[in-house]
C-alpha cells in the first residue's frame, strides 16, 4: 500500500474542516479503503470527539514524534469501521511540538500501512498549517459561501501555490440553496469565479451535522442526510469516480420518498 496524503485546510476557523475530515474518512473506509486521520490541531484537538473516539486515547502525535510510543500504538481503531484509524493531537502542548519534517517522517512511515492519510489542519496560516501541508500529496481547501471564509480561502490557495502544493481542490460547505435562490448567499458559481480552482464537493447546510457530532457518529453513512451524501460523493471523487454534484434544488418531498435523491 502507498497511501495518498490529503490535507484539509481553510485559513478561517469554524468552516467545517474537522467534520469534513471525519466524514470523508468514514466514507472512504466504508468504501473499503484503509484510512488513517491525523489531527493536526495540537493544543485544540477535536477530531477525536467528532469521531466519538475521545475515550480511547492513550498516545498522541507528539508521543510518536518524541519517541514515547510506536506509530501503531498511537493509531486508534474506529468502533464501527475496521479500516479506519485516528492519530489524535496532543492537548497539553502547542503547535511548535511538531515540525513540518516530523510530519513528513510520520506520514512516510504510515504510507505503507494505509490507502489514505487525511490530515486535519488547524485554522490559520502559521506553524500548524505548515505542519499539515508539508506531507500533503493533495490539498483540499474548504470554504463557506461567505465573504470572510472566501477571502481566507483565497489567501490559503495563494500560499499553497507559493509552496508548490497546488493545484488544490475546493469544497464549498454549508451552502443554503434557499438563500442562494433569494440572492442572499454567494452561489457555487460565484465562489468558483472568485477562487478559480477545481471544485470537488458542495455540502449543503444540514442540521444532522450537529446531531451527528453530538453523538460522535459521523453522518456519512446516513443515506437520509444530504450533507452525508455530499461527503460520500467527495470520497468517491477522490477515488477517481465521476459523480455528479448534488442537485440542491431537487429536494422536494416526493422525490425523496421515491428515493430519487
Amino acid at each position: 500500500m502507498t497511501a495518498k496524503v490529503l490535507t484539509m485546510t481553510s485559513g478561517k476557523g469554524g468552516v467545517g474542516k474537522t467534520t469534513a475530515v471525519a466524514n470523508i474518512a468514514v466514507a472512504l473506509a466504508s468504501l473499503g479503503q484503509k484510512v488513517c486521520c491525523i489531527d493536526g490541531d495540537i493544543g485544540l484537538r477535536n477530531l477525536d470527539v467528532v469521531l466519538g473516539l475521545e475515550n480511547r486515547i492513550v498516545y498522541d502525535l507528539v508521543d510518536i514524534v518524541e519517541g514515547r510510543c510506536r506509530l501503531r500504538q498511537a493509531m486508534i481503531r474506529d468502533k464501527r469501521l475496521e479500516e479506519l484509524y485516528l492519530i489524535p493531537a496532543a492537548q497539553t502542548r502547542d503547535k511548535t511540538a511538531v515540525s513540518p519534517s516530523d510530519m513528513i517522517r510520520v506520514c512516510d512511515e504510515l504510507r505503507s500501512e494505509v490507502d489514505w492519510i487525511l490530515i486535519d489542519s488547524p485554522a490559520g496560516i502559521e506553524r500548524g498549517f505548515k505542519n499539515a501541508i508539508a506531507p500533503a500529496d493533495h490539498v483540499l481547501v474548504m470554504t463557506n459561501p461567505e465573504v470572510s471564509a472566501v477571502r481566507d480561502a483565497d489567501r490559503v490557495i495563494g500560499l499553497l501555490e507559493a509552496e508548490q502544493k497546488g493545484p488544490a481542490s475546493l469544497i464549498i460547505n454549508r451552502l443554503n440553496p434557499d438563500m442562494v435562490k433569494r440572492g442572499d448567499m454567494l452561489s457555487v458559481e460565484d465562489v468558483l469565479d472568485l477562487l478559480a480552482i477545481k471544485l470537488i464537493g458542495i455540502v449543503p447546510e444540514d442540521e444532522n451535522v450537529i446531531v451527528a457530532s453530538n453523538k460522535g457518529q459521523p453522518l456519512a453513512l446516513d443515506p437520509k442526510s444530504r450533507a452525508g451524501q455530499a461527503f460520500t460523493n467527495i470520497a468517491r471523487r477522490l477515488m477517481g469516480e465521476t459523480v455528479p454534484f448534488l442537485d440542491l434544488d431537487a429536494h422536494n418531498f416526493l422525490d425523496r420518498l421515491l428515493g430519487r435523491k
Binding site: 483565497d154 442562494v180 442572499d184 478559480a196
Partner: protein, 84 residues
C-alpha cells in the same frame, strides 16, 4: 434602475466586494500603493511621449488565478501638439 428591481441583492454586493479585496490581497498592493504606481507610470511615460493623463486606464485583470496589469494609454496625436 434600482427602484425598478428593488434593492441590490446581498450576494451581489458580496461578490463585488470580494472581487476588489482579492485583487489587492493577491497583488499585495493597497489601493493607495496602486494609485502611486499609476502616477509613477504616467509620469515616466510622459517624459518620452505625449499622453493625456486623464485618459489612462490601468487595471488588474484576472485570468483564472493569474493576474495581469493592463494599461491602456491613448497617445495624443502628434499633429495637435504642433498647434499648441
Amino acid at each position: 434602475m434600482a427602484f425598478l428591481f428593488g434593492p441590490k441583492k446581498s450576494a451581489n454586493s458580496a461578490k463585488e466586494r470580494l472581487q476588489l479585496v482579492l485583487i489587492h490581497d493577491r497583488t499585495d498592493l493597497t489601493p493607495g500603493q496602486f494609485e502611486t504606481l499609476r502616477d509613477d507610470l504616467i509620469a515616466t511615460i510622459s517624459r518620452h511621449i505625449d499622453i493625456d493623463p486623464n485618459a489612462v486606464m490601468i487595471n488588474v485583470a484576472q485570468d483564472g488565478r493569474e493576474q495581469r496589469l493592463i494599461a491602456n494609454i491613448p497617445l495624443r496625436v502628434a499633429g495637435r501638439r504642433r498647434g499648441k
